[in-house]
């Protein structure tokens, strides 16, 4: 039995909103970062679902690009988090407040 396309899209929409809300309300850098990944993967789910609907490869290819870019972002993001942890012993965004005006 085929699961209708709308179910996939609804699920990806929910995941995307969860990710966006997560970035806005959570205060731990690593958790905010995980929420961003959730947003990207919500988009990936929508891509593969639609790619199957259209029987086209374009959507599948896009997913690979998103995964590769997300990996690059992880490398940069985690190294920055580590650099911050070294200087402050803390990765709570609310304590990142040396810039104000």
């Amino acid at each position: 039995m085929m699961v209708p396309i709308n179910y996939f899209v609804a699920l990806s929409g929910i995941l995307f909103i969860l990710g966006a809300v997560g970035v806005l309300v959570r205060r731990n850098l690593i958790v905010m970062f995980m929420s961003v990944e959730l947003m990207l993967n919500a988009a990936n789910l929508a891509f593969v679902a639609y790619a199957r609907h259209y029987l086209s490869m374009d959507g599948q290819v896009f997913v690979f690009f998103v995964i590769a870019v997300a990996a690059a972002e992880v490398a940069v993001g985690l190294s920055m988090v580590i650099a911050i942890f070294r200087t402050r012993q803390n990765i709570n965004v609310d304590d990142l407040n040396s810039l104000k005006g």
């Binding site: 899209v9 374009d58 896009f62 940069v76 993001g77 911050i84 200087t87």
Partner: protein
């Protein structure tokens, strides 16, 4: 795709293939340079970008799609290539002495800068939403690293992580928007989207509009428009000034290049839905950017809010993108203003860099007191930049604003134009305050004498005044050359 076609497409995209290879060569050179000689990479990077400008200019007049229509070579992309490579050259010139002086001389700066420039150039050439996304990331990820270049200084690290989080968040919106647009049309190619929309086979127009809106949000983060601007002042203040100068011009121009491609080429069909949104965003951006800038005492934060305000002015002209008769004119006006803004902004940052001391001193407005007595040339140049930001003749900033308002009024958005004019008047207060400090207060500002920074300030100041004479022919030329594809 045969090997001949592959090689042919590589030559169509020669500026990119060449620049990426050059950056890879620089990475290897960096490996063999001792730590105290990393400055050698600056002339090498500059040489690479100068050759890139030559290669781009050789392509003038071409109109080709490469790699199965993923990327385009056309008037618009060549114009943007030259603009971005020029931005890169000034970015190197401003950084060379600054990085040495601040103890930040690391080879990464120049290499990441070249990679970031490649991403910006791809953004101007993108003809497929896959390319838009990849270009966005290629330009952003090096910028995240560059903002945190001055680690372990807390301000720089904080700027890096804030920029990174907000940038990744924005990418999420762009990707999900692309996913929805792909879902409704079955293609990611921009011409393909246009033909699907015009043939009326959209799966669901509402979701298509939502996808377009999400892309607008994501790109709005990149160009820093209200309400997606919160990161801008912090990142601009915390990042090393040379990086901020480069990023405030490059990332903004690239963001608008993407907005123009996506809105004007791919999404004119949903203009009636998006135009009111753009109207409100532009109005809010102009008002908030200019009003909050009044309260700033730190010149870097002042320029950050000024950059938000100017993003509002450029976005203002894009409300007219949906009307067929005005779209080309709107794009030309936006590009013209982008060039005027880039010149002005680089000049202003050159002056900031000349006055900055170690540990973030020399950045308050008070530190500019007496500049007019001690260093007349620099003070006059800064005055020209402030006048150009405000939009006072005879500067290019005035001409640019004139063209912007012209299009907006022709499009019938009188109220928006009125908000633009009134906020420009407000902006005169804080821009001219800098001039007042320089000429009417006493002080003993110390200025770092560096030939490249002085040259940047001098050339941009002279250019801003001299180019006003040729403004009309320049604008006509831009309209004809750039917009052949629109």
């Amino acid at each position: 795709m045969s090997i001949q076609e592959f090689l042919r497409d590589l030559t169509y995209l020669l500026p990119f293939t060449y620049l990426v290879s050059w950056a890879a060569v620089l990475l290897i050179v960096d490996l063999f340079l001792p730590d105290d000689r990393k400055g050698l990479l600056a002339p090498l990077a500059a040489l690479g970008m100068a050759v890139g400008i030559g290669l781009s200019i050789l392509q003038v007049g071409q109109q080709q799609a490469a790699f199965n229509g993923l990327a385009m070579v056309d008037g618009f992309s060549i114009f943007m290539n030259v603009l971005f490579l020029g931005i890169g050259l000034v970015g190197v010139a401003l950084a060379y002495d600054y990085l040495k002086r601040m103890g930040l001389e690391r080879g990464e700066y120049y290499i990441l800068l070249v990679f970031s420039i490649t991403g910006m150039m791809l953004m101007g050439s993108a003809n497929d939403l896959i390319m838009v996304f990849l270009a966005l990331e290629l330009l952003s990820i090096p910028l995240y690293v560059l903002s945190g270049l001055a680690r372990p200084q807390q301000a720089s690290e904080e700027a890096g992580i804030k920029y990174f989080l907000m940038g990744a968040f924005a990418s999420g919106f762009v990707v999900f928007g692309i996913a929805l647009i792909f879902g409704m049309t079955g293609t990611t190619s921009i011409p393909g989207i246009v033909s699907t929309v015009s043939s009326g086979t959209l799966l669901n127009p509402l979701i298509f509009t939502v996808g377009g809106g999400l892309m607008l949000v994501g790109l709005g983060f990149k160009v820093a428009v209200v309400p997606f601007h919160m990161w801008t002042p912090d990142v601009y203040e915390g990042a090393p000034s040379a990086v901020t100068a480069f990023m405030s011009n490059g990332a903004k121009a690239a963001g608008f290049a993407a907005l123009i491609r996506v809105l004007v080429v791919a999404l004119p069909s949903i203009a009636t839905d998006l135009t009111p949104v753009i109207w409100i965003i532009a109005a809010l951006t102009m008002i908030l950017g200019n009003v909050v800038a009044i309260a700033q005492r730190n010149i870097k934060r002042l320029l950050a809010y000024s950059s938000i305000a100017h993003a509002g002015y450029i976005l203002m002209v894009l409300v007219a993108y949906g009307s067929a008769g005005l779209a080309a004119q709107a794009v030309a006006a936006a590009l013209f203003y982008l060039v005027a803004y880039t010149l002005t902004n680089f000049g202003a940052w050159a002056v900031v860099i000349a006055l900055e001391k170690k540990e973030g001193r020399g950045l308050m407005l008070e530190d500019y007191s007496g500049l007019g007595n001690r260093h007349m040339g620099l003070a006059v140049a800064m005055t020209i930049f402030m006048l150009s930001f405000t939009g006072v003749p005879p500067t290019l900033g005035f001409v640019g604003k004139f063209y912007l308002f012209n299009v907006v009024i022709e499009g019938g958005y009188i109220w928006l134009a009125l908000i633009g004019v009134l906020t420009s008047l407000v902006s005169a207060y804080y821009y001219l305050r800098v001039v007042v400090y320089m000429f009417m207060r006493d002080g003993e500002p110390e200025v770092r004498r560096d030939v490249w920074v002085n040259l940047t300030a001098g050339v941009t100041a002279a250019g801003l005044v001299a180019l006003t004479i040729f403004a009309a022919p320049l604008f006509d030329w831009a309209t004809r050359a750039v917009l052949a594809g629109f």
